[in-house]
Amino acid sequence: MRDMTLGQYYPADSFTHKLDPRVKLLLVIAFIVMVFLVKNLIAYSAIILCVVIGTLVSRIPLIKVLKSIKGIIFLVLFTAVLNLIFHKGETVLWSWWRITISVEGIFFSLKMALRLILLVAGTTLLTYTTTPTGLTDGMESLMYPLKLIKVPTHDIAVIMSIALRFIPILSEEVDKIMMAQKARGASFDTGGIVKRAKALLPVLIPLFVSAFRRADELALALDARCYNATPNRTRYQVMKLSYRDVIAVLGTAVFLVSVIALNMNFWGAYVPPENLWWLFS
């Protein structure tokens, strides 16, 4: 449980860590759009470059990024296989019943797999470089238009930050309870699926009990400190834009434009040589 990577902050002193969380959120949205825009492999290379540069300037060890990909490897393989056998292409290599494997299918499934991997690798950079508080503050700030139509954006942000804060607490709790039950002879990694699921009951029940207890205590603590007594709360950390944010936005914009340009083959200005067609299809 301790090795949970998804959504875990990785402390470091880097360019990306210092960016305004709001800017990072917007850039990630731009990145996601970019990933869904790409059509051909040459444009993919631009996104791969974008992720590599992002990782390097964030000073996140490569192994951490690979670990985040490990979590979705099953999903990637699953969709790749499905795309491979059901994609209808023209240059059929092998076919049986409804299954056809074609050259186009191979490229298509490869691209879809790459798309998923890049999506995760790029977006985990956000959670690696932004503290949960930064994330929720940024989201609250970006939700400002909703506040004008009376959506309780601040409460939503607080709920999100509490939820994020509870992930490590509960995972530590799971560790403790598992240890205690193991000390009483429980075993969590033997037997079939039903036996293993049953073995988790002695962990889940105390976990729920303690989660409710903690929620009650937290509610009391919030009340005791007069949470929500005043409508306009000030902040301890005020978000400010700096020159870094401008650089990051410009950098991402360059990638976005180049992805579009490569997608459209420089608006038809560049005709790829015959033997390189696969890069541009």
């Binding site: 301790r2 402390p11 205690a180 009483r184 002879g185 429980a186 075993s187 002695p202 029940i205 105390p206």
Partner: protein, 283 residues
């Protein structure tokens, strides 16, 4: 059964920014019959050390032998080891889960391979031992019990399988004074029956001084002292170096000594302090 710890080290989250050295080259031996107190300030590695004894944490550096079992061995019979070494965690009442108290206490014995009837018998014995009314609580939900009762039920769940070594991580934390005394009395009673060795983590020096025949002092993951309570609490330097403090009775003895009243006792508990005072004034 002897427990031998040799050059044990442990690091949490190695090679990450969260890296933390919890144990650093710790060696000592627990002899059969010992009641050992493990003391040290928060974060000194006490819990990490204790979680090694029954292989809840697998050894990454160093060696531990429990009897003739080598805990670094690849093929280790974990079930047999954990039956032998019972472990009571901090706030054990938060680990209760079953729908009745009796079933919850039977959980351990059943896991350790006892049959249904045997497990039920062991559960009854354990619940009686911890001073609960078996007939009354056996069909109750553990969540209906009071705080002190929950702790007793949880202890019963650990001792039901009759371990010969019991590791207790702050067994009295969060209890009222009577509850504290009852738990310690229970441990002493258990030592007169099946229990042979007790390893106890505590922040309460009174408890350590009155109940343990040996103390191990950890500081930042290193073993600083392996000695008797008598030796430790008569060494002001040791106490100052580890910011532990004295048991109340020793503290009073020291205050009297400052005023020129020397007593012929280590004063590890109130009774011996009182006896020494009576002797001095021939009461």
């Amino acid at each position: 059964m002897q427990i031998k710890v040799e050059d044990l080290s442990y690091v949490y989250s190695p090679k990450t920014p969260f890296e933390k050295v919890a144990l650093d080259g710790v060696s000592f031996t627990v002899n059969e019959g010992d009641t050992i107190g493990i003391i040290g300030s928060t974060g000194s590695g006490k819990s990490t050390l204790c979680q090694h004894f029954n292989a809840l944490i697998r050894i990454s550096h160093g060696k531990i032998y429990v009897g003739d079992k080598d805990l670094t061995a690849r093929k280790l019979d974990l079930l047999a080891l954990r039956k032998e070494i019972g472990m009571l965690f901090q706030f054990p009442e938060y680990q209760l889960f079953d729908d009745t108290v009796a079933k919850d206490v039977e959980f351990g014995p059943k896991n350790f391979g006892y049959g249904k009837e045997e497990a039920a018998r062991l559960a009854e014995e354990a619940l009686v031992m911890v001073g609960m009314n078996y007939a009354e609580v056996k069909n109750k939900s553990p969540f209906e019990l009071s705080g002190g009762e929950k702790r007793r039920a949880a202890i019963a769940g650990v001792i039901a399988s009759k371990p010969s070594v019991l590791v207790l991580d702050e067994p009295t934390a969060g209890l009222d004074p009577i509850g504290k005394r009852e738990i310690l009395e229970l441990v002493n009673d258990l030592k007169k029956s099946f229990l042979k060795t007790v390893i106890m983590i505590s922040h309460n020096m009174d408890e350590i001084a009155a109940n343990c025949n040996r103390v191990i002092v950890l500081h930042n993951g290193k073993l600083l002292y392996d000695t008797t309570p008598e030796q430790l609490f008569s060494d002001p330097e040791a106490i100052a170096a580890t910011d532990l403090g004295y048991p109340h009775s020793v503290h009073i003895k020291r205050l009297l000594a400052e005023r020129g009243i020397e007593l012929d006792t280590p004063a590890l508990d109130a009774d011996s302090l009182l006896a020494a005072l009576k002797r001095r004034y021939s009461l």
